[in-house]
Amino acid sequence: MSKPAPARLRCCDASACRNAGGLALRQALLAARAAAGLQPTSLAIGAVGCLRLCGRGPLVAADGPGGSRLWGGLSPEQAALLVAAAWVDADPPLALASPQASPPASPPTPVPPASAPLASSSDPLASYRLDLSHPFFSLQQPVVLEHCGLIDPDCLDQALAHGAYSQLRRCVRQLTPEAVRQEVRRSGLRGRGGAGYPTGLKWDTVALQPPGPRLVVANGDEGDPGAFMDRTVLESDPHRLLEGLAIAAWAVGAERGYVYVRAEYPLAIARLRRALDQISQRGGFGVAFTGTPWPLRLELRVGAGAYVCGEETALLQSIEGGRGTPRPRPPYPAQRGLGGAPTLINNVETLAAIPPILRQGGDWYAAIGAGNQASADKPASGATTATLGSRGTKVFSLSGAVVHTGVVEVPLGMPLRTVVETMGGGVVGGAPVKAVQTGGPSGGCIPAALLDTALDYEAMASLGSMLGSGGMVVLGPHTAMPELARYFMGFCVEESCGKCLPCRAGTVQLAALLDRFVAGQAEAADLDRLEALCAMVKATSLCGLGQSAPNPVLATLRHFRPEYLAACREEPRWA
């Protein structure tokens, strides 16, 4: 590690910014630095993980004596200007495009800040500056993403310098597995993949199975369209996931584990692979890393394009090299999983929350967002505690018709409105928000009138949606709800594994029914048929995919029924 340089440019090297030309910009910056005769010691330029505001990429942050500044949407031609700007002292920040700002006329060109009284006309990069004090950044509480955007995801030393693996080391050397699980129970952490099952309870279930081998699996098959939280973690801080997974392995007594990542994330796969190589180059998780001869072995498995593999029993099938078809539960994987051994499966974000929970303590985590809770319930401290609550932070990916798209990590319990309107800036063009789609194809829609709903598991579920994995797609006034429902049903038709009848044949019939509504050719009886079939598919499907496939239909029916009624022809054909 070189000593912290007086000035440093952090170039976002996560896939959104890469797609927007981040790589070329970084190379141009390196060339511009050389051209300016500056040394890496005086101006460091490095790749980092996600800088959050993905919609304005490529993002570059500068750290200097005057604090941090952020630019978005720069082209390689502007590299020299940026090097000069980073080198000179920081000036006061400018406003991020405010919610009242007019929509970008042609999106690739950045929005000039509407209210930029401080803009010095002499700064040629003024219109590319993004305000780090904007709520989009200032309301975030990075826990899972604490090092994301600060460290080079390909560099183990940087991760170590930020404390990576220090909690794993502490666990292995000083804590019993029971003590680790106790801390996780106290945190009240619940599965971040969507189901919200208490993590501590799941760990206990695996740990307390009869003696024998156990396995751990990190589920990185993030398939919900509109969700990219796990990708952010994997691309920005892969060692964080590996540490969380290793701690989980310690806590349940596993010596083998897998990270399963969807094949659609090539950059995440490459970074994980490198991270795993870095570990094995240092002798694995044994003596070199933890000071004890602990034989933990972690392997990477790559999916091949199947949404259903996010379902845990299907994921196990896929890891074993088979068709990703779910099997009935019980037995749960925690009882009988890979090769018949008890297997712990946790979502990537869940595992990435583990190291800070151990560092700061479960109570610290449980206190996050506690002030937001409607009921003053106590943090879940025991496996049998009835009140689960929604504690800690959650990463959401904000996209759709919203002004500021990107990744946010906020305390649970925050009102949805704060995320969508205050942080996200509302709908592009200043139009009103029509609804917010959460939970992907398993979730539903929260209409604008209910935007004050708190982001917590129970509150969202009570509205017929779900907190889900964290995808949040903002819908403007032009999105027709039957069309949205048809879109998600089409997704489920495509992704149904075909094993059980209701999901295989029922979703096809539901899609056909919805087609009639989209075309305005439905009859009143179709609405009954739609609801009856939704109920049947929901109740009788084998796995979560089928059981939740009708949710987008049911949620839009619940909150936007008039749109369905309007799509019915006035009189039935036979009248």
Binding site: G55, P225, V302, A401, E495
Partner: protein
């Protein structure tokens, strides 16, 4: 590994479905482990561009798996191809964010536009699940590259943008 799931540059004519020894070695590297079937198929597709029946047969034999099991897995996952890849592929992301920003309308435009080109050889239009580039939708994948923010616009403007990102110009239906 970085190009997993993306069609290789080799088209039908260039596909080499003959290097039996290379396949043998890659399966051996996986320890002849039946649980590595998916990884083996990934690497096989990397080499040959698609999963030819002959190669699947070899995989089954070497991993000691039933043929129908191998075929069942190869046909279950979207990213495995059982036919040679097209010379050029334009895939439209149909993730929710892209959908909200007009991906379906874009798909319709591209369908019309590429209808001629498809006949002339070369371009194939595909639909694709969410790429996770939700911040910059609608997104197209053109062969190896990604085109972002391909928003629906009046014809001349959109045509110009599509041409700029590498689609064949209208009217001149030739493969690049």
């Amino acid at each position: 590994m970085a190009s997993i799931g993306t069609p290789t540059q080799r088209g039908c004519s260039g596909a080499v479905a003959g290097d039996r020894e290379a396949i043998t070695r890659l399966i051996q590297l996986q320890g002849d482990d039946p649980a590595a079937l998916i990884e083996v198929l990934h690497q096989l597709q990397q080499i040959e561009g698609y999963l030819a029946a002959r190669s699947l047969h070899q995989v089954a034999r070497q991993l000691r798996l039933p043929l129908s099991r191998v075929y069942g897995v190869a046909s279950f996952y979207h990213l495995f191809r059982r036919t040679p890849p097209p010379v050029h592929c334009c895939a439209v992301c149909l993730g929710t964010a892209c959908f909200v920003n007009g991906a379906l309308e874009l798909l319709a435009v591209l369908e019309l536009r590429l209808a001629q080109q498809a006949r002339a050889g070369g371009w194939v239009l595909e639909r694709m699940g969410c790429l996770g580039a939700c911040g910059s939708g609608p997104v197209l994948r053109l062969d190896q590259g990604l085109a972002i923010r391909v928003r629906l616009a009046p014809a001349p403007k959109l045509d110009a943008q599509l041409e700029a990102i590498g689609l064949p110009p209208l009217g001149r239906a030739t493969a690049r």
